[in-house]
Symmetry: C2
Subunit: 143 residues, 2 copies
């Protein structure tokens, strides 16, 4: 038994935080694409692979793969050479993500973050905002 310190409970808690952050990361793709598809359907009546890819800043095979995952997870449906559409679950996720994004940006703005930085940072931060934190943000925005 070498190094004595480091209570096991603390170590476990810290490991959990990192594991949690890694897991959250895997949701990022689903959340970003569902919101994007929702945006496109609202704007154009459908979401095309090319538009999704363009807006996400990836190539179209990458977008195709992502959509395949959305379909596997029951968030989207599509038929070959036709557009992509969200399922009920997909719409629910899109609505949730959209609301959360809005709140995160608003909080950043309220804290004095410049608008462009707020948009950029929110895009990455929002996926790590838990329900508890989101609730606190909402309460704060209502003063």
């Amino acid at each position: 038994m070498p190094h004595p310190p480091l209570p096991d409970s603390d170590a476990a808690a810290q490991a959990d935080r990192f594991s949690h952050a890694r897991t959250a990361q895997s949701m990022t793709l689903l959340e970003d694409y569902t919101e994007m598809i929702d945006d496109l359907v609202r704007a154009h009546g459908e979401a095309r692979i090319t538009d999704i890819a363009h807006l996400m800043g990836v190539t179209h095979p990458t977008a195709t793969k992502a959509v395949a995952r959305l379909k596997r997870e029951g968030l989207a449906v599509s038929r070959p050479y036709r557009g992509v559409f969200l399922t009920e679950a997909g719409n629910a996720m899109a609505a949730r993500v959209r609301a959360r994004h809005r709140i995160v940006v608003d909080v950043l703005l309220a804290l004095g973050v410049p608008a462009d930085a707020a948009e950029i940072d929110a895009e990455g931060m929002e996926h790590h905002v838990s329900a508890a934190t989101l609730a606190a943000f909402e309460a704060y925005l209502r003063r």
Copy 2:
């Protein structure tokens, strides 16, 4: 020419935000490990692979791979079967990351986020906090 809408500038800006978030993600590993190694060196005089792995919540080969990357990037040094230590650059990164983490947690707490949620969420959010946002956070904390 199919769908007319979507000004190209907006599309490009949005694509940039997503690309940026993806790139930031690749820094996460470096930042987390350098801070962890710094913690361990402070506490024990050295950072052992086993302890790093344990605290990060991964297996030791994963920690070894991460350390290999840190060494490739000039952030850490180590000799076989000896501990891992940070370089100048590594120490600088650790200091920066530690300070940023503190600030993010403090901002969350100031906004009324429960302490446990603040710690968990900060672990994921902090990597997406830009210099501009960090400056705004600091200003806010100083009232």
